[in-house]
């Protein structure tokens, strides 16, 4: 055993949620949102292609269509969660100063939420015809 201070084995200490106390939540959510992003991104590649060259009323009609708007909201949620998790890993890998790292991780969360809120508001406004 590594330490005499505990009767617990190293395996026992990391079982359940592990030493970081959040388990594989980050990893798993990154994969789940990767799956949803894959499906939704393929749909929106076609939606965006269909918008090319369309005048404003036609573009608004497409984006405001309830079916497309719901998918857009799901994509905004899925993409923002995914990009927040991904950027957090990048920050944790390259920013080694503790205070700066915490600030960057918080800024990353703010950025993802701001992008998500602005995009979702725009889609809802287009949809409800404001």
């Amino acid at each position: 055993m590594q330490s005499n201070s505990s009767m617990r084995t190293p395996l026992g200490r990391v079982r359940g949620l592990g030493s970081a106390k959040s388990g594989t939540g980050h990893f798993w959510l990154q994969r789940v949102t990767a799956v949803s992003n894959l499906i939704l991104a393929i749909i929106f590649v076609f939606v965006v292609i269909s918008l090319v060259g369309k005048p404003y009323p036609a573009a608004v009609a497409t984006l405001g269509n309830p079916f497309i708007a719901i998918l857009a909201l799901l994509f905004i949620l899925s993409a923002c969660v995914h990009m927040r998790l991904g950027m957090q890993v990048v920050i944790e890998d390259y920013v080694h100063t503790e205070g700066l790292k915490i600030l960057a991780v918080i800024a990353n969360t703010f950025f993802a939420i701001a992008i998500g809120a602005a995009s979702a508001f725009a889609v809802l406004k287009l949809s409800f015809g404001g």
């Binding site: 330490s3 894959l38 965006v48 292609i49 090319v52 060259g53 573009a59 993409a79 950027m87 990048v90």
Partner: protein
Amino acid sequence: MGGPLDRRMILAEVKPAARPLSPHLQIYRWSWTMAMSIAHRVTGTGLYLGTVLIAAWLVAAASGPAAYDAAQAVAGSIIGLLVLFLYSFALLHHMVGGLRHFIWDMGHGFDPQTRTNLAKYSVFVSGGLTLLVWIAALALR
């Protein structure tokens, strides 16, 4: 006696030796898997920053015809089209790279030839898909 804390205090008095640092990018010979791993991060970061433009475009569309036409004019300029082309390639490259990671997550494709091929072909597949998307978009214009 002699727990972890005591040992650290003793070690702190020893002058740090000039130990070799762990090797970094400039040490390794470039491989396809290494290049595509870096590309996955770079494209992910690019997609992250580019969401500002997508959000701005959506807000412009929600603001009215004048703002939408202005956003479309920016998107349709030479620089706008170049950014859109790179963004679409980053998206498809990150997507195909993600599929490669799914294969690895399932525990497949780890032998040297397969992992190199997976990485190598992800460039050609994502590049080909990008061209297909742009051919479709230009045909519909």
